[in-house]
């Protein structure tokens, strides 16, 4: 098995789209054989990041795919927006840091919930967050 098994792109423009993203991510998680706890972790991380795309990034697109390589199955999510970007990523990742009088736990929390986490951001150009979650069949874990 190699390359993306399936990829879905979902536009993020409203609360309802976040519900949709959670649903699609849940489907990928179930299909990849994740336990209920892992499903919940991944769906929750996706919900956090999609909400950031909507609230801070002014909307964007989320891509969900399940990939398999010689090491096993990974669910990959990409959250992309062309919003204001993040000035100081380290600060944004700090628990409790928020520019929105919210809880400020979304970015740091999402990073703790998943296995792979990368942020690409440039002030004024937008933000792309990529996460990966490994299915239990993955070797070498």
């Amino acid at each position: 098995m190699s390359g993306p098994v399936s990829a879905q792109a979902i536009h993020v423009g409203s609360d309802l789209d976040i519900v949709r993203i959670r649903k699609v991510v849940r489907e990928h998680a179930v299909a990849a054989g994740l336990s209920l706890v892992d499903q919940t972790k991944l769906v929750t991380a996706a919900s956090e990041l999609a909400r950031n795309t909507l609230v801070h990034g002014g909307g964007g697109e989320v891509t969900v795919s399940t990939e398999g390589d010689e090491r096993g199955t990974t669910i990959r999510l990409v959250f992309a927006d062309r919003g204001p970007g993040i000035d100081d990523v380290d600060k944004a990742l700090t628990d409790g840091f928020t520019t929105n009088s919210a809880l400020g736990l979304g970015l740091g929390g999402a990073r703790r919930l998943v296995h792979e986490f990368h942020i690409d951001t440039e002030p004024g150009r937008g933000t792309t967050v990529r996460i990966g979650f490994h299915a239990p069949n993955r070797r070498g874990r």
Partner: protein, 274 residues
């Protein structure tokens, strides 16, 4: 002898008012107009007349497919399970078949009853078609769109509960929370239970809603208890870093009620004779 299909269709037409009246008192049509019942009845009469009571694609059913689906979905959105809705649909059959058999004693009594029974079974299939195609998530999605309010339940004098379901981070949540706070004032409640057994994801937005509600309730003199935090949700919340602080939590709604009763000075004890 007149064609049985014609006899049955005529019977439905002649007894239309009686059947509509009986149906309106059945659960499935609760809150619906007589016009809706009449439309469904006309559809049934049409498929019987066409001799196709077993065919869900018959023209008579096509005409009422959307209406039936809408009623069924509405019931499910309000918290009924698909199985329960199917039972309420089944309840439509007895009044019609009984009326038919009590008004006939000739040879056509049995074949007519069979046709009516078949037509109403098919009706149930037609109504549930739409439901089957919709996943729980879609129901959730519609719920969000419609912003249906979650009921605030009075568990005891002074104890309220809100069973939260589906997704919580929408305007709907806001409305639910406001409804709860208003109910606390109206009923002078001392304890408010937020039961999240039916919530699939607690992200930071949901947690913030919950925390804000607990805080507001506290300012109004009511104590909040959050119940029904399932294991996978608890683990995820911990990793996210959500701190419920000194908020009281209980495993189940029943535990939360027991706690609430104690808060208002009541105890639940076994009766002597047991």
């Amino acid at each position: 002898m007149q064609d049985i299909n014609v006899s049955v269709a005529e019977f439905l037409d002649h007894h239309g008012d009686e059947i509509v009246d009986a149906w309106q008192r059945r659960t499935f049509f609760a809150g619906r107009t007589g016009g809706d019942c009449r439309a469904v009845l006309n559809g049934v009469a049409e498929v019987v007349l066409a001799g196709r009571p077993e065919d869900p694609t018959a023209a008579g059913f096509d005409a009422i497919r959307d209406l039936l689906g809408e009623i069924a979905m509405d019931r499910i959105r309000r918290g009924e399970t698909a199985a329960q809705t199917a039972v309420t649909l089944h309840d439509l059959k007895p009044p019609v078949v009984e009326l038919w058999t009590s008004s006939r004693d000739g040879d056509d009594a049995l074949p007519g009853a069979l046709r009516l029974s078949t037509a109403l079974d098919t009706l149930r299939l037609v109504a549930m078609e739409l439901v089957g195609g919709e996943s729980a998530d879609l129901v959730e999605e519609r719920q969000q769109l419609l912003e249906l309010s979650t009921p605030v339940i009075r568990m005891w004098d002074g104890i309220l509960a809100v069973p939260l379901i589906g997704t919580l981070d929408s305007a709907r949540t806001q409305a639910t929370m406001e409804g709860l706070l208003q109910a606390i004032v109206d009923q002078q409640a001392r304890v408010a239970i937020l039961d999240i057994t039916g919530v699939s994801t607690v992200d930071t937005a949901v947690a913030q809603h919950l925390l804000r509600t607990v805080m507001a309730a506290r300012l109004m003199g009511a104590k909040c208890v959050i119940s029904g935090i399932r294991p996978q949700i608890a683990q995820t919340m911990v990793q996210l870093g959500i701190d419920l602080g000194d908020v009281t939590t209980r495993a189940t709604l029943a535990d939360a009620l027991a706690y609430g009763l104690r808060q208002i000075g009541l105890v639940v004890a076994a009766a002597d004779n047991h």
